[in-house]
Symmetry: C2
Subunit: 112 residues, 2 copies
DNA sequence: TGCACATATGAGCAGATGTTCATGTATCTT
DNA sequence: AAGATACATGAACATCTGCTCATATGTGCA
């Protein structure tokens, strides 16, 4: 029993759903941000300076990247003294990244 | 017994691994491409014209998008007469997209 | 209060991305 | 062969991204 008529077994994505999904994927569509997210998932919590060092980017560039992740609700920031600690806020990104790592990194040889 | 020294339990992503992952995510970082991939997963196989209609884009724009997906090995093309049929070539993208749809579309309310 | 440290932010800029428009290629029909 | 159909491709262009550099904000310390 559903309210919206479906015209077939093959459901379609509305434009707006596709935009939501693309926006999520876009957050992980940059090597720097992937490294940031991965590092946070592994470490639990990191300071901006540490993240910059891990990623190998300037602190300014890192801060800009973190802002995007923050504004998208993927991470959250937490000030302690003059340091700001970041952690993952979106619990789903772990699975998403795990699936990608598992399939596109480990298992070289049957990508398709 | 391992050959490469690891400095902690928190493994790090090399730059090049992060680039591979980001490149994969980038393919899904556009609403049109998400719709294309989704439609192909649902339908199994589609002609370029149908894809263009589903996505609501011109055939030219659609063809350009398909080329990207093709060159990345995510889809493959198959000519039958004057039509070209596309299908998913990367078996892993289904899981990746399913996870995203499940978490970011259905389950509105505990994204983070 | 003055200064150093940690991070954030805005402007400006170079490179990437996605579209359109014109044209090219392959196939079918007559 | 000529024209129509289906798709691909290249160039041009507007927009978006991510970086740097300069500057601002917040915090601790002398």
């Amino acid at each position: 029993m559903y309210l919206v008529p479906m015209d077939d077994p093959a459901r379609r994505l509305t434009r707006s759903d596709a935009e939501s999904l693309a926006a999520r994927f876009k957050l992980l569509a940059d090597p720097g941000r992937v490294q940031i997210v991965y590092a946070l998932l592994e470490s639990g919590e990191l300071r901006v300076g540490d993240i910059a060092r891990i990623v190998g980017a300037s602190e300014s560039a890192t801060s800009h990247q973190l802002r995007q992740l923050r504004m998208a609700g993927l991470v959250n920031a937490n000030r302690t003294g003059r340091e700001v600690h970041y952690r993952i806020a979106d619990i789903h990104v772990r699975l998403l990244l795990d699936v990608a790592v598992e399939h596109y990194l480990h298992d070289h040889g049957d990508h398709r």
